[in-house]
Each structure stands twice: as C-alpha cells, then as structure tokens.
C-alpha cells in the first residue's frame, strides 16, 4: 500500500509539473524560445493568491481568478518588454534575457515580501478520499491537481486544434514567414501564447502552493526547471508530451525519494534528462527531424 500511496503522490506532483510544462512547451513551440522566467511566474501567482486570501481576506475562487489575470498580464508585459525587441536576435541572447527576467522577478518578490517564507493557505476545499480502510489516503489537493491538469490538457488541445487563434498558433509554429504572408499577425499570436502560458502558471502556482504550503521568492525556480525537464522528456513542443513527461517526472521524483534516497531525488530527475538527451533527444512524443537528402 505504501507503494500505491507514493505512486498517487507522484501522479499528483506530476500533474502540477505537467501544467507548468505546458507553459514551457507552448512558448517553445510557437515563439521558439525557452522562457526560463516561466517558473517565477508561478511564484508571482502564489504571492497574488496569498495576498488576496491571507492579507485581504478574499475567498479562494476570487483569489485564483485575480492571480490568473495578474499572471496573464505579467506574461504579456514580459514578452513585450523583454523578448519582443529580440525577435531577430540569436536564441542565446533571448535565453540569457529570460534568465535575467527570472532573477528580476525573484528579487522583486524578495523586496516586497522579504526572505522569510510565508504559510500558504490551501485553496483546495475538498475532503480527502480514504480507500482500503484508510490504508490509501488521497488528499483533496491530490485529486484536484490531477483533475485540473487533465481539464487543462483537454481544453488546451481543443483550443489549439479547433479555433481560429489556435490554428494561427500552429501556423506560426510551423513557418512564421509563410503564416505572416497568409495574413496571420505574428506579434498578436506570440503575445497570446505568452498570455495563455502565464495564465496556466498562475493555476500551477495555486496547485503547487496548496500541496507544498511554504511560499518564498525562489518557490517557482526548482519546479520550473523540473517542469522544463518534463517538457523535454515528453518532447518539447508537444502538448500531450508535456502531460506525459510531467507525470513521469513527478512519479520518478517521488519514488526516487521514497525508495532510493531523499537527498538524491532531484539528482535522479536530472539524470533522467541526461539519459533522454542521449537516447532520444526529441523526447517521447517529439518529432524526429529527418534531413532530406
């Protein structure tokens, strides 16, 4: 039963990673850049919810909505100010800028909220499920994380494949130049991508901080990087890949912590990244790019 408990916890953590990984994969697929500040948007989302609920006493639903709005706007602003001027620059310049934005957000949070971690009140108000006479306990946070992540993946896939804006995103991701010549507004499409990715980060922040209720300025950094590993693992650019990669990384981390070594759990996750890059560099669902000769 211990194993099943661990497995469920792994899937739950993995679902949160999956939601974060979706943001990475979406931005990478469409804007062709790695937004390393993505993890820190999660932290901002966490602090917005914390402020709304604990400082202002608003209810959890309203707090989440406000956090989603705040992070969406933040995502759009970051793209406009930091990345858009670098549209023609090398990918290295954009990468370094993204790391700069990441540190900027972390330090702004440090300035406002201080270095002492705050206690996050869970936004989830769902009773836990007990199975097999209480031998297996699924907490409310766990079931909510799993359900929310599934809803997000399904919703996002429908949005991208079935709507006009989604088709524009796919077209930009495949051939920016051709899309533009067919009348697709590239700037608006990339802006929309950042808006969606950052809105998802706010939801990920709510889930993450509810499950692991200490919040500080570096809270988003480590989950952000692990979710990046998950996105690469699943095949970066692929939405179902992000989901599968996220859940696998979550399970590997929790099982590694339980059965191998709690100290080595993070190292195991990154060892997985190295193995993936050696064995199948495009990830589980990533496309093989074969050069035509």
């Amino acid at each position: 039963m211990g194993f099943l408990n661990n497995l469920i916890n792994g899937i739950s953590l993995g679902s949160i990673y999956a939601v974060i990984a979706l943001g990475y994969t979406l931005v990478y697929g469409i804007a062709k850049m790695l937004n390393f500040a993505h993890g820190d948007v999660i932290m901002v989302g966490g602090y917005v919810i914390f402020t709304c609920m604990t400082t202002w006493g608003l209810n959890s639903w309203l707090s989440i909505v406000l956090a989603v709005i705040a992070c969406t706007l933040l995502g759009i602003v970051i793209e406009k100010v930091a990345y858009k001027p670098l549209r023609q620059a090398t990918s290295l310049a954009v990468l370094i800028t993204a790391i700069g934005v990441s540190y900027f957000l972390q330090n702004i949070a440090l300035l406002i909220f201080g270095e002492k971690p705050v206690n996050f009140t869970s936004v989830v108000n769902v009773p836990s499920i007990k199975l097999f006479d209480g031998q297996i306990v699924i907490s409310g946070e766990t079931s909510v994380a799993i359900i929310v992540s599934i809803l997000i993946v399904v919703g996002l896939s429908l949005f991208i494949n079935k709507t006009k804006s989604g088709r524009a995103m796919l077209a930009v991701s495949e051939d920016r130049g051709a899309a533009q010549l067919m009348g697709v507004n590239i700037n608006r499409t990339i802006s929309l991508t950042f808006a969606i990715g950052s809105g998802l980060a706010a939801i990920a922040g709510a889930l993450l901080c509810s499950a692991y209720p200490t919040l500080q300025n570096t809270t988003g950094a480590m989950p952000g990087i692990k979710a990046f590993v998950a996105a690469v693992f699943g095949g970066i650019g692929s939405i179902p890949g992000a989901m599968i990669g996220g859940i696998l990384i979550g399970v590997i981390e929790i099982l590694g912590r339980a059965y191998i070594s709690p100290q080595l759990a993070d190292a195991i996750v990154f060892a997985v990244l190295i193995l993936v890059l050696i064995i199948k560099p495009t990830g589980i669902l990533g496309k093989k790019i074969s050069e035509k000769v």
Partner: protein, 252 residues
Amino acid sequence: MALLEVKNLGISFGGLRAVDEFSITIEKGQLYGLIGPNGAGKTTIFNMLTGVYKPTDGTIVLDGKNITGKNTIEINRAGIARTFQNIRLFKDMTVLDNVKVALHNHYKYSTFTGVFRLPRYFKLEKAMDAKALELLKVFELDDKASLLASGLPYGDQRKLEIARALATQPKLLLLDEPAAGMNPNETAELMDTIRFVRDNFDMTVLLIEHDMSLVSGICEKLSVLNFGQLLCEGKTAEVLKNPEVITAYLGE
C-alpha cells in the same frame, strides 16, 4: 487604371544592388510572366511586392493605393498573396486547416468566443469550413481535406499552396515557379488551373517561371529580368523572339 504599378523599384543588400530601376504595369485580369536567368532578382522582386523586403527606392501602387514599405500583413490585407518557390505549406496541419489559416482575416471572432464556444464560434467555423472546401474543390482537393498537407503528392502540394493563397482573397496572385518539379502532364494541368483561377476568381496573376512551355502557353505579357535590371518587356511571343533575351538565357 492598372491594378499594379511599380516604378523604379530598387533594393541594395550592403554593397550589392540586387534589383535596380525595375518598373512594371499589370492590368486587371492579366496573366503576366516574370522571367530571367537564375539569380536575376525575380524572387527578390516578389519579396519586395509582399513586404518581406523593404525596397530601398521606388514605389509600389496596388489598385490606386501606395503600399511601398508596408509590412507583410498590411500588404496581404491590401490584396497581394503568393506561393513559394520551395513549397511552404503548414505540413503538420490538415489540408483543410491550411486553407482555414489563410481565411483568418475574413472571419472574425474573438479568442474569448473561441474558448467558450459561443454560438458565433460554431457559425463562423462552419462558414470557414464551407468556404475552404469550396476552394479546395476548384483544385480537386476536397476529398483530401482531412489529410495532413505533408501526405499530399508533390503536384497537389503546389495546388494547395495556390488554394491557400487564394483564401486570403487577394486582388493579385503571385506564383513563384509554380511548375517547378512538375512533369509535362502536370504542367499542362497547372496551366488549365491558372487560367481557371483567373477567369473564375477575377484574378490578376504575376508568375515567375523557367518552364517556357508554361510561359508561352499562358502568359499574355512578359518582363525579362537580367542582373537585377529590366531587359525588355512586351507581348509574350515578341519577347521570346528578342535576340537580347535569347542571349541572356543561352549566352553568346
């Protein structure tokens, strides 16, 4: 009034003068050919006409509107659409979706409407499907609408590019080597398609082509480009007999 009036168009890349003093006038409904040896600057002219490159000198007037130096989206909205020398379809999208992307600007609903699937979403998506299928039917691609674009045979991919360009509802259609890589049968079929498009869509067509059977078969007028400059222009039959043109193509 002419549909397209280009005067003294020129562009330099660093010290290289790729196109110089290029002028062309195309009447509405014309099938116009732009020919010349490799590297003469034909595709560069297409890139300037569509806003991919900003011309250094000269003016481009489309249907009485000055579009010089406008960006690609503005020019596309003003009414110029194109295909590419090397096919640039959205390969991982379906044939139908390729066309629907290009219908983008003519069926407006907000992202909000799309996310929450309001009635307007269903109405417009249905209208887009119908319009896209109607276009695909012209190119006999309607029964392949749900295939991925990458799964189409080469000739069909070329046709889909033309269908996609037409979906933006242009006034002027630019075709960059539409017959490249086609066998004589496919080329003959393509000539019929281009004529059909011109007649049924009230289209004006400017095409770049090396295949002389296609050029002499459908183009009413030609401009010949050599080393970035206009060598001569006129009725197709006369241009092709011009000794200077023959020299430019075959050498002395």
